[in-house]
């Protein structure tokens, strides 16, 4: 309980002429910065490398980015609500193993088993976060460890790589339609659906409201607990789906991929302009962020002399740049 005095609210409300323009530039940078950088990078890449701007390379980038993108959609919901989900990388791997394991019982089991398990764990995490008020970061950290353990347990301590034994399920990861694989189309569909959910429904607005100010959201009648639980459920389900699709693509439940994937996902979301403090951001930015990471990776491959780890350096630097820019924009807004 703090005693609030006028000083806390005493911001000067007058705006200098030209403020609106600065504000608009800030808004543009915040929401479409990743898209602009993506466009510039693509143009530079196309000029510099002949083999970059080919349909083949574009398809490669899109296909390899699609799994990250699916998880990033869920993560965007979580981060906008003011939380974070560190468990998605583990969820992704676990789902792959479960899907490959389940594929021997048919397509339906191969899909439902990972979705059920990952969804259930997401739900539990959501319940713990919403009900006990424990920090999302620590709850999902425990989720990360727990699911890694579960994955190892299912796969005989990682020694057993289940192979996918169902053609219909394999097709889900490998078949192409209009030159793009099925996961890409699924990603597009989910991004569209997620965008509508976030921007055009009461649920989506509730997510923004909770992330913006939980206290205000309660007073405005938002069912905070329910929305929070749903957000973690969505994140768990999408990470599970991405893992299952990846297993279908690789025809096996690989146990070594996906560690640390949560960091790439969070990086993509933050680069896309979604603030980790919650309450603002969106899926367009996230998609641009994911693609930007993919394009950078592709460019580094083109350069050849650089190892692929260079991509991490670039995305780390980029992430730092983005958060610093966001802070500066934030300060400029406060001072005005």
């Amino acid at each position: 309980m703090t005693t609030t005095t006028d000083a806390d609210t005493g911001t000067d409300t007058r705006r200098a002429p030209g403020m609106l323009r600065r504000e608009r530039i800030g808004h543009l940078l915040q929401h479409h910065g990743a898209l602009m950088v993506l466009a510039v990078t693509v143009v530079v890449g196309a000029v510099a490398f002949d083999s970059f701007a080919t349909p083949q390379n574009a398809a490669n980038i899109v296909v390899s980015s699609s799994f990250l993108a699916i998880i990033a959609i869920g993560m965007t919901f979580v981060i906008i609500s003011g939380g974070i989900d560190l468990s998605v990388g583990s969820s992704f791997v676990l789902a792959g193993v479960l899907a490959a394991y389940g594929s021997r019982y048919g397509l339906l089991v191969a899909l439902l088993l990972p979705l059920t398990v990952c969804g259930a764990i997401g739900l539990v995490q959501g319940l713990i976060v919403a009900r006990t008020g424990m920090a999302p970061f620590i709850v999902t950290l425990a989720g990360l460890l727990g699911m890694r353990g579960l994955m190892l347990a299912v796969s005989d301590e990682g020694a057993n790589t289940y192979l996918v034994r169902n053609d219909a399920f394999s097709a889900l990861g490998q078949a192409s339609f209009l030159g793009l694989t099925v996961p890409v189309w699924i990603t597009l569909g989910l991004a569209l659906l997620g965008g509508v959910l976030l921007q055009r429904t009461g649920f989506g607005q509730n997510v923004y409201a909770i992330g913006g100010s939980e206290e205000a959201a309660v007073l405005m009648g938002v069912p905070v607990t329910r929305v929070k639980v749903l957000v973690y459920l969505i994140s768990g389900l999408l990470a599970g789906l991405a893992g299952a699709l990846n297993a279908a693509r690789l025809s096996s439940g690989v146990t070594i991929l996906g560690a640390g994937m949560e960091l790439d996902v969070i990086a993509a979301v933050v680069i896309g302009g979604t603030l980790l403090t919650g309450g603002s951001g969106g899926l367009t930015g996230t998609m641009a962020g994911v693609l930007l990471l993919g394009v950078i990776q592709s460019l580094i491959n083109q350069i050849g002399v650089l190892t692929s780890s260079f991509q991490q350096v670039v995305s780390g630097a980029f992430l730092a740049l983005v958060v610093v820019t966001q802070r500066i924009l934030h300060r400029a807004q406060r001072l005005s």
């Binding site: 005693t3 609030t4 009461g202 009648g221 938002v222």
Partner: protein, 508 residues
């Protein structure tokens, strides 16, 4: 007698150690603007929280249009037609104006998703009625406080409110925005909607309020039509003084005048401004002098102290200590110069709850109590021991956690922390609020003693008696500016109240 919109009968609400509301009755008629006033700790925020479903009363009943009601949470009160607009706008700053206004009631298209065209049109329509013409798609935080306040008001009214509670709605508004707000309040009144208006700005109260309820120490001190009450009477009621019988000395531990009030000023603040909370404030304190800082809540007293202590980013003005200018915006520089602040909000800005009494006392003086970065436990023990004894700090041991002490002892710990730095000037912000009678007397006696030793003290207090008996000179603030200065025989409760109540000159 007309049906009351809302009536509270015999409401009591206690917290451990404090009875915040004691048998409070309150009646609000339809279409009335009802002022609710009182100083800090008088119980108005508790009363508002009871009326709006944040707290449940221990005793007493609430009647909504003559029907008894209980609210489980703020939402229930909202559904019953009671909306609250808080001092700090309780909306989502990052969301657009339109989404804030219509959250939970978004218009849907035939596909079941939000129809944004209609959403923005509806928001624009509503806001026009409140005299706001702006792009409703802009995020709320990019708009002025006045507009934000208006959106909160529009949202409150649009959920079919019969009663709107406004808690210091104008504290961050400009005069033009205040005019718009008052226009809207007049409209509400004519529509039969009632308003509970909480403010310390007398001008505003007299401009728009019909009735006033004054709370003092958890009880109703006065209730009646506002226009029958003179300004100075209202101030007297708020500060718990009866203008008829003042002057009765000896209730505080102050001895009165101090001898040494001559000499060069120890600390001097010149034309300090920090818009919009402080305008051109000048104060000086000489050695051995206790200077009181008077005024109502929100007049800028705490801000003045913080500005001098380097804890407030000031726009203009200088602070000098013994003739030397102190670097702006650095509490560390102020402490090195010998100025130390004991803040009003002990919990948020004072104690470090995870540390012991000893570590809390030594905190600010650590650089003096250590050699090449290693603290000298012997020196700390000595200084902590001497201050614990001198200030009679009651703790099981110096190693007890400070959060386990009573408020009075925590306050003494903070005083000890300031004194341990070797401060020449103490800025004491409400040093006796919320502490028990015994500790209060001890703190007051200590202030006298320190002044006698030649320290300069700036004393902020809402307790007029404390101010009059403790201070040699009183600077009265009003709306962030100096309204007057009283010294010698002029320092009386009447004079302070008259200075506060004087009609504020309209600033150019």
């Amino acid at each position: 007698m007309a049906t009351a919109v809302l009536e509270a009968r015999g409401i009591s609400k206690g917290f451990p150690g404090v009875l915040a509301l004691d048998d409070v009755s309150f009646r609000l008629d339809a279409g009335q603007v009802h002022a609710l006033v009182g100083e800090n700790g008088a119980g108005k925020s508790t009363l508002i929280k009871v009326l709006t479903g944040v707290y449940r009363p221990d005793r007493g009943t609430l009647l909504l249009r003559d029907e008894p009601v209980t609210f489980d949470n703020p939402l229930a009160a909202q559904r019953a037609g009671i909306s609250t607009i808080y001092q700090e706008v309780n909306l989502v700053p990052q969301m657009s104006l339109a989404h804030n206004l219509l959250l939970g009631r978004e218009p849907r298209s035939r596909l079941g998703v939000t129809d944004t065209t209609q959403l923005y049109a509806e928001a624009e329509r509503v806001m026009t009625r409140y005299g706001i013409r702006t792009d409703v798609r802009r995020p709320l935080r990019s708009l002025g406080m006045g507009t934000q306040q208006m959106v909160a008001l529009a949202r409150a009214v649009s959920i079919e409110a019969r009663l709107v509670v406004m808690d210091e709605p104008t504290s961050a508004l400009e005069p033009r925005e205040v005019d718009t707000l008052f226009g809207v309040i007049a409209d509400l009144r004519s529509e039969g909607i009632s308003v509970i208006y909480v403010s310390h700005r007398l001008d505003e109260l007299y401009r728009i309020c019909d009735r006033v309820t004054v709370l003092r120490d958890g009880r109703v001190a006065h209730d009646g039509p506002l226009d029958e009450l003179a300004r100075v009477e209202l101030v007297a009621l708020m500060l718990g003084r009866d203008p008829a019988e003042i002057r009765r000395d000896g209730a505080t531990k102050f001895t009165g005048e101090h001898t040494t009030t001559v000499g060069e000023p120890l600390v001097q603040a010149r034309s300090v401004s920090c818009r919009p909370v402080l305008r051109d404030v000048s104060v000086q304190v000489r050695p051995g002098e206790v200077v009181g800082l008077g005024g109502l809540l929100g007049a800028g007293r705490s801000e003045t102290a913080k500005a001098i202590a380097g804890a407030l980013p000031v726009d203009a003005g200088t602070v000098t200590v013994a003739g030397q200018q102190v670097r702006r915006g650095s509490p560390a520089a102020a402490i090195r110069a010998g100025v130390s602040l004991v803040p009003e909000d002990r919990k948020a800005e004072g104690i470090v709850p995870t540390l012991s009494v000893r570590d809390n006392i030594a905190l600010a003086a650590l650089p003096q109590l250590s050699r090449s970065g290693v603290v000298s436990d012997a020196r700390i023990d000595r200084i902590v021991d001497s201050f614990m004894r001198r200030l009679r700090i009651k703790a099981a041991s110096p190693h007890q956690k400070v959060s386990e002490l009573s408020g009075g002892n925590q306050q003494k710990v903070l005083l000890a922390r300031s004194l341990a730095t070797g401060a020449k000037v103490l800025l004491l912000d409400e040093p006796t609020r919320g502490i028990d009678v015994g500790a209060k007397a001890e703190v007051q006696a200590l202030i006298d003693e320190l002044a006698a030793e030649g320290l300069g003290v700036l004393l902020i207090s809402s307790d007029l008696e404390e101010l009059v008996e403790g201070a040699d000179r009183v600077v009265v603030l009003r709306d962030g500016a100096v309204a007057g200065e009283l010294s010698g025989d002029q320092v009386t409760e009447e004079a302070i109240m008259a200075t506060i109540a004087a009609t504020g000159e309209t600033d150019g």
